[in-house]
C-alpha cells in the first residue's frame, strides 16, 4: 500500500493511503474525541465532534471521514477546534433530555457508562448556554429485552449502522427530519412488533442512554463490576463475551470484537446477551432422597452419595444407563465416560448424540463462515436460525444483502430470516429431506452453494437430513452443521455419544442423569416415557424430571463450571466461570470423583483425553 506523509500537530506522521485523519492521528498517539464514530462501523461524520483544522482548508474538517493526503498539515487541538467541539457538544446537550441525573448510565468522570457524558466532561460543559428543548419523544418498551428512549437519543446513527452493516437485519433507520428526526423501527413500528431480532447490538453501541437493557438497569455501574472475558457455550457458535459481574450477579453481557475486520462484529444473540440475565428457574439447593413413602426428604451430600453407591451396586452394569447434556465441559464429559467404563456401564449418551451419529457415514466438505459470506446459493434447512444460531443468520443476510446471494429456506416453522429468502418452502417437521432432489439442478447451475443444516430436531432426524447429506456428498457442496450445544462436537469426539448406544435403551432400569444445564435436545417427556425404575439426577435447576427422580444432587450451572469446549469451528476453548457456585455444589466430575473414592475405584485421570481435543 502506498505511503502518505503528513504532519499532525507539527509531528511527521507516515500513514497509508485510504486512511482517515482520525486513524492516522490515533496511530500516531494523538487523541481526537469522537461520538458517532465507532471502530467497527463505517464512518458517518454526523456529530462533528472530531473536527480538526487542516492547513489550506477554510473550514474545519471531520477527521473520521477525511482521508489523509500527502503534505497535509493537520492540527487536532487548536483553540478554534476546541471552541468548535464545545459548541457542538452544547448543541447536542441542548436538544432533548440530557439531564444526566435521571439516567442510569450517568456517573462521575472516571466511572460513567455514558460516552456522551464523558465527552461533555472532556470539553468542560458546565451549564447549558442555550435554552433547553423540552419536547417529549416516545419511549419504546415493547421489546422483551431493551428499552428505547428517544428523549436521550443524539441521532448519531451507530444503532442504524450496526443493524445494517453487522447484523444485516436493517430493522433500524432514520425517519423525519431535523430536530424531529427519530430512529425508526421498520416503517414506524414498535420494537416488539417489528423485524427486530433482539440481538442487542444497537444497545451495545449506543453512546448515550437511549437504548438500554431491561435487565441491567440500575444494578451497577461497570466500574464497580468484575470484568470476565470468556465465551458463550449456549449454542455451537461460541461467541466471545465480556461479562460484568457484581456480588455474583451478572449485570451485563457484551459481545467482544466490535472492531474493523472482525468476522462476527462482536454480535451476540438474544439468548447469549440476555439469557443468563433472564434466568427465572429455581435452583436445586440441597440433596434430596425419596423415602419409603415416596416423599422427598432433604439429605446431606454424604447420604446422597451412599444411596448412589448402593444403587450402582444394586443393578448390574447392563441395567444402568448414563445420559448427559453436551452443554457440559469436556472435562465432565470425559470423566463421566471414564467413570462409566470403570463400573462396566456401556450405555452412555448425550441428548443430541444422534446428530453426529447421523453424519458419521458421510464424507462431507465442511463449510466455514466465510463460505456462507461468499455463497451465491444458500439452502437453509430446518429450525429457526434466528432463535438458535442468530449470528450465522447475520452471515446469511450479509450474503443476501451485499452480494445478492439467493436464499432458500426449507423449514417447518416461521422465522424472521424468511423475509430475506427468495423462496420459502413450508414443510411438515421431519419431511425436510423430501425436497432435496428438487434443488439438485439448481445447485449444479450455481458456482458457490452451501447447505446449512439447522436445529437439534432436524439434525437428529435421520430421514430428514440424509437426502441432503447424500446430495452434498454427490455434488461436493459445502455443508454447515449448526451444532445444537457448545460441546456437541467434543462429546462426539470423546465418544460420549457412541454408535448405536440406543439399541438396548428399553431394558435399562437405572438412569444416571447429568444436566449441566438444559440443552435444546433435552426433553423430560422422552426420558419419562422410557420408564426407568430409578433415576439419579445431578442438575442445577428444578424441572419436570425432578419429580420422577429418586436421588437428586445439586449441580453447578454452566455459568459456574470451568472447562473446555470445542465449538463448531473446531477450536477448543477454555470457559472461565462467570459466577461462583455455592459452597458444596459440585460439577459432574467432582461428584463422580467423590463417588469413585466411595466405591474405591482408584483415581481417574482425564487430562490426556481432554488435551487431545
Amino acid at each position: 500500500m502506498k505511503e502518505v506523509k503528513l504532519k499532525i500537530n507539527g509531528k511527521d506522521v507516515v500513514a497509508t493511503e485510504g486512511m482517515t485523519i482520525l486513524e492516522a492521528a490515533r496511530k500516531a498517539g494523538f487523541r481526537i474525541p469522537t461520538l458517532c464514530y465507532h471502530d467497527g462501523l463505517t464512518p458517518h461524520g454526523g456529530c462533528r465532534l472530531c473536527v480538526v483544522e487542516v492547513k489550506g482548508s477554510p473550514r474545519l474538517l471531520t477527521s473520521c471521514t477525511t482521508p489523509v493526503a500527502d503534505g497535509m498539515e493537520v492540527y487536532t487541538d487548536t483553540d478554534r477546534v476546541k471552541e468548535a467541539r464545545k459548541f457542538v457538544m452544547n448543541l447536542i446537550m441542548t436538544e432533548r433530555n440530557h439531564f444526566c441525573m435521571f439516567c442510569e448510565k450517568s456517573g462521575k468522570y472516571e466511572d460513567t457508562d455514558c460516552e456522551l457524558q464523558k465527552r461533555a466532561y472532556e470539553v468542560q460543559i458546565e451549564h447549558f448556554p442555550f435554552p433547553v428543548y423540552v419536547d417529549k419523544y416516545p419511549v419504546d418498551t415493547s421489546s422483551p429485552v431493551m428499552v428505547t428512549d428517544h428523549n436521550r437519543c443524539i441521532l448519531c446513527g451507530r444503532c442504524v449502522r450496526v443493524c445494517s452493516e453487522i447484523v444485516a437485519n436493517s430493522t433500524l433507520d432514520f425517519s423525519f427530519r431535523g430536530s424531529k428526526a427519530l430512529i425508526a423501527v421498520d416503517t414506524g413500528l414498535s420494537k416488539g412488533k417489528s423485524s427486530c431480532i433482539s440481538c442487542g447490538a444497537c444497545m451495545q453501541v449506543c453512546p448515550a442512554g437511549a437504548i438500554f437493557s431491561k435487565f441491567g438497569g440500575y444494578k451497577s455501574r461497570r466500574s464497580l463490576c468484575e470484568r470476565i472475558e470468556t465465551f458463550c457455550p449456549i449454542c455451537g457458535i461460541g461467541c466471545e463475551t465480556t461479562n460484568y459481574v457484581r456480588y455474583n450477579n451478572i449485570v451485563e453481557i457484551e459481545g467482544n470484537g466490535l472492531v474493523k475486520g472482525s468476522l462476527d462484529g462482536g454480535q451476540l444473540c438474544e439468548k447469549g446477551r440476555y439469557g443468563p440475565l433472564m434466568e427465572s428457574r429455581n435452583r436445586i439447593s440441597t440433596p434430596l432422597l425419596r423415602d419409603s413413602k415416596g416423599r422427598f426428604v432433604e439429605a446431606t451430600y454424604e447420604e446422597a452419595l451412599n444411596r448412589v453407591v448402593q444403587l450402582l451396586k444394586a443393578y448390574s452394569p447392563d441395567q444402568i444407563a448414563f445420559r448427559t447434556s453436551s452443554f457440559l465441559p469436556a472435562e465432565d464429559l470425559a470423566y463421566i465416560k471414564e467413570f462409566a467404563s470403570r463400573i462396566g456401564v456401556k450405555d452412555i449418551d448425550t441428548f443430541d448424540g444422534n446428530v453426529y451419529r447421523n453424519l458419521s457415514s458421510f464424507k462431507l466438505s465442511k463449510g466455514t463462515y466465510e463460505d456462507v459470506l461468499n455463497a451465491d446459493l444458500i439452502l437453509l434447512i430446518g429450525g429457526d436460525i434466528v432463535k438458535e444460531h442468530s449470528v450465522v443468520g447475520s452471515y446469511i443476510r450479509r450474503a443476501v444483502r451485499n452480494r445478492g446471494a439467493e436464499l432458500v429456506v426449507i423449514s417447518s416453522i416461521e422465522s424472521k430470516i424468511d423475509r430475506w429468502a427468495k423462496e420459502v418452502r413450508r414443510v411438515a417437521e421431519g419431511s425436510e429431506g423430501s425436497l432435496a432432489n428438487d434443488y439438485k439442478n439448481k445447485i449444479k447451475s450455481m458456482s458457490n452453494s452451501i447447505i446449512v443444516l439447522e436445529g437439534a430436531s432436524l439434525l437428529s432426524n435421520k430421514e430428514a437430513i440424509e437426502p441432503w447429506l447424500k446430495l452434498a456428498e454427490e455434488l461436493n457442496v459445502k455443508v454447515m452443521i449448526l451444532t445444537p450445544t457448545g460441546n456437541s462436537l467434543a462429546a462426539w469426539e470423546l465418544g460420549i455419544s457412541p454408535d448405536l448406544a440406543d439399541s438396548a435403551g428399553k431394558s435399562k432400569k437405572l438412569l444416571f442423569l447429568f444436566l449441566g444445564d438444559i440443552d435444546s435436545s433435552y426433553s423430560p417427556a422422552s426420558i419419562a416415557e422410557k420408564g426407568y425404575e430409578t433415576i439419579v439426577l445431578h442438575s442445577a435447576y428444578i424441572d419436570a424430571i425432578m419429580k420422577l427422580s429418586d436421588v437428586v444432587i445439586p449441580g453447578k450451572s454452566w455459568l459456574e463450571n470451568e472447562g473446555t469446549y470445542k465449538v463448531m469451528d473446531g477450536k477448543a476453548r477454555r470457559f472461565s466461570p462467570i459466577l461462583k457456585a455455592e459452597k458444596g455444589v459440585k460439577s459432574p466430575r467432582e461428584l463422580l470423583s467423590d463417588l469413585a473414592d466411595a466405591m474405591r475405584l482408584g483415581s481417574i485421570s482425564i487430562d490426556d483425553i481432554v488435551r487431545k481435543l
Binding site: F99, M101, C103, S106, K108, Y109, Y121, H127, F128
Partner: protein, 179 residues
C-alpha cells in the same frame, strides 16, 4: 486582610449542595479564617447585604425564587451557580416535560400520600408557579458554574480556593459531575 464576605441561598432544590459544602469538613475551619458568611441558611441571616461572592443552589420555578435570585445577584460581585439545579435546571426540571396543571394536580391531589378530599390546589399565600423550571442563568448573569448532584466537596473547595486567589474558576473535567 479583610475576610471575603459570602452569601448563600437555596431556591428550588433539596439543600444537598449546601450539605456537600459542609462535607468540606476540617477544611471549613481553614476556610473560615478567610471567609465570613453573611445571609445564608447556615447562618440563618435572612436579609441580603452586599457581599463579594453569592452562592446559589437550586433552580427557579416560582415568583418568590426569582425575587430571591435577583436580590442575591444585586448584592454579589461574583455569583456562583452551585449544583445541577442551578446550572442546568436539574431534578426540578423534570416537571418541564409536563403541563403546569398536570404537575399541580399530581402533587396536591393524586399522590398516594395526599389526603385532599376537596381537591384544593393551593392558590393563595403561595408564590405563583412558573410554567417551567429554569436554570438561574436564564434570569441573571452567572459568573461561575459548579455542577454536580451534588457537586463533590473537592469541586466546591477548588472553586472557593480559586475565588480566594482572585481567579474565576473553571472546573477541570475530573471535578465535573452531572450526577
Amino acid at each position: 486582610m479583610a475576610k471575603v464576605r459570602v452569601a448563600t441561598t437555596w431556591l428550588e432544590c433539596c439543600s444537598g449542595c449546601h450539605m456537600s459544602m459542609l462535607d468540606l469538613d476540617e477544611k471549613l475551619v481553614e476556610l473560615a479564617s478567610k471567609i465570613e458568611f453573611d445571609a445564608s441558611p447556615i447562618t440563618d441571616i435572612k436579609e441580603f447585604h452586599p457581599v463579594d461572592v453569592g452562592i446559589v443552589e437550586g433552580a427557579v420555578g416560582n415568583e418568590e425564587q426569582l425575587e430571591v435570585l435577583k436580590k442575591i445577584r444585586e448584592n454579589s460581585k461574583i455569583l456562583v451557580a452551585l449544583g445541577d439545579c442551578a446550572c442546568f435546571g436539574g431534578i426540578p426540571a423534570m416537571r418541564n416535560f409536563f403541563k403546569k396543571e398536570e404537575v399541580l394536580k399530581r402533587v396536591y391531589v393524586e399522590t398516594e400520600s395526599t389526603v385532599n378530599p376537596e381537591k384544593v390546589i393551593p392558590h393563595e399565600d403561595v408564590p405563583k408557579l412558573f410554567p417551567s423550571v429554569k436554570a438561574i442563568d436564564q434570569f441573571v448573569k452567572v459568573d461561575v458554574y459548579v455542577p454536580g448532584c451534588p457537586p463533590d466537596p473537592k469541586a466546591i473547595e477548588y472553586a472557593l480556593r480559586e475565588l480566594l486567589e482572585g481567579k474565576i474558576p473553571v472546573l477541570p473535567p475530573e471535578l465535573l459531575s452531572y450526577e
